[in-house]
Point group: C2
Chain length 204, copies 2
DNA sequence: GAAAAATATGGAGTCCATTCATTTTTGAAG
DNA sequence: CTTCAAAAATGAATGGACTCCATATTTTTC
C-alpha cells in the first residue's frame, strides 16, 4: 500500500498548479519566480522541479485545460452543425475565440506559443502541437460532415481547406495576443471576413 | 566631422553581427554566450551591449537581412508575373522558401519567431512584424496585378485572399522549422496543395 | 598638442531558472 | 517497534544574460 504517498503527490501537484495559475494571472508569467510559486504552494524549489521539468511545463498544463474545454465545446457543435457552411464555421471558430481568455491572459498565450516554437521535441511542445492538430481536425471534420449532408460541395478536399482555415485562424490569434490593446471583437471580425470566401467556395 | 568614429562604429557592429552569425549557425543560438560573441568580434562584453540591447536583438538583425533580400527578389517577380494565378503565386512563395535557410538555421528561425511573439512592443519585434506585413503585402499586390491584367477574377478581395495565403504559409513555415527533419520539398508540396484551391478560386 | 567628449573595457554584482548533493520521510520486512 | 532501502523533499550552488561603474583609450575640437 502507498496511499499516503499517492495522496500527498496529488495534493502537492494540485497546489503547485493552483499557485502558478494565480501568480501567472495576477502578476504575469515572467514576473512569477519559481521561488514564489513554490512558496505559495508551500513546497520547496527542489520539489517544484520534482513535479514539473520546467517553468513552461506548468504553463502548458494550464493551457491544456483551456484547449481541452474548447475542444469539447466544439464536439457538441459537430454533433448538430448549422446547415449553412459559413454559419457553421463561424460558430465553431467564435466558440474557440470566446473561450480563449477565460483562463489565460494574452501574456500567458504568448509565452506558451513562444515556448512551443522555441523548444519542439519537448513534452510541452509535442502536447501543444497535438492540441493544435485536434483543433484542425475538428474543423476538417465539420466540413466533412457538411459535405456528407449535402450542405457543402463534395468535390473539394475537406482536409486541405480545414488546414488553411485553421492556419489562418492561428496566425490571426497570434497577432491578437501580440497586441495587448486589440479587442476580441476586432479579431473575430477579421477572421470572419477572411473565412467568408472559403465558405463561399464550399457552398453547393 | 566625425568620419572615423562613424566608420569604426559600423565596423564593430559588422564584426559583432558576423561573429554572431557564425556562432549561431555553428553551435546554435542558445549555446553561443555573449562572452563568446564578443570575443569572436574582438570586442568587450560591455561594448557588445553598446551596440545591441539584448542577445535577441542580434538575431533579429540577422533575420531582417534575410527577409529583406527575399522581399527584393519578390519585387523582381512582381514586375513581370506569370499570367497563370497558380504559377505566379507558387513562384513567389517558392522564392521565399528557397531562400529561407540560406543565412538562417531552423533553430535561428525558431528563436526569432519565439522572441517576436514573446516580446511584442520591442523595437525588433515591431520590425519583424513589419517585415511580415511587407511579405503579405507583396502577395496581395501580386494578386491585384493579375486582376488588373485580366488574369484573375476582379470581384474577389485581393487583400483578404493575400492575407489568408500568407497566414497559411507562415504557419506551415513554423511547422517546418519546428521539425528538424522535415525537408524543404515537403513543405513546398504541402503549401502548393493548400494554395491550389485558392488559386482556382481566383482563376477567371 | 592639450583639453574635452565620446567610447571601450572588463570586473564585480544582480537576478533567475535549473541542478545536485544531502537530509528527511515513507512503506515494508523482520 | 526497529531497521533500512527507496522515494521524495530540500535549499545551497551553478551558469549565463544583463547592469553598473570606475578607469583607460580613442577621436574630435580648438
Amino acid at each position: 500500500m502507498s496511499g499516503l504517498r499517492q495522496k500527498q503527490k496529488a495534493d502537492r501537484a494540485g497546489r503547485i498548479l493552483q499557485a502558478a495559475t494565480d501568480l501567472f494571472r495576477q502578476g504575469g508569467y515572467a514576473a512569477a519566480r519559481i521561488e514564489d510559486i513554490a512558496a505559495a504552494a508551500e513546497v520547496s524549489v527542489g520539489t517544484f522541479y520534482n513535479y514539473f521539468d520546467t517553468k513552461g511545463d506548468v504553463l502548458l498544463a494550464i493551457v491544456t485545460l483551456e484547449v481541452e474545454e474548447v475542444l469539447s465545446a466544439g464536439q457538441t457543435l459537430l454533433a448538430n452543425p448549422p446547415p449553412d457552411v459559413a454559419t457553421a464555421l463561424q460558430t465553431l471558430i467564435d466558440g474557440y475565440l470566446d473561450h480563449s481568455l477565460v483562463y489565460l491572459s494574452k501574456e500567458m498565450w504568448r509565452t506558451a506559443m513562444a515556448l512551443t516554437i522555441e523548444h519542439p521535441g519537448t513534452a510541452f511542445s509535442a502536447r501543444y502541437t497535438r492540441l493544435d492538430a485536434a483543433l484542425t481536425d475538428q474543423i476538417c471534420t465539420l466540413i466533412g460532415a457538411l459535405q456528407r449532408r449535402g450542405h457543402a460541395r463534395p468535390d473539394l478536399d475537406a482536409h486541405t481547406l480545414g488546414e488553411v482555415i485553421f492556419n489562418n485562424l492561428n496566425m490571426m490569434f497570434i497577432e491578437f495576443v501580440k497586441s495587448e490593446s486589440m479587442p476580441l471583437a476586432t479579431l473575430q471580425a477579421a477572421v470572419a471576413r477572411q473565412t467568408a470566401p472559403l465558405a463561399n467556395l464550399l457552398r453547393p
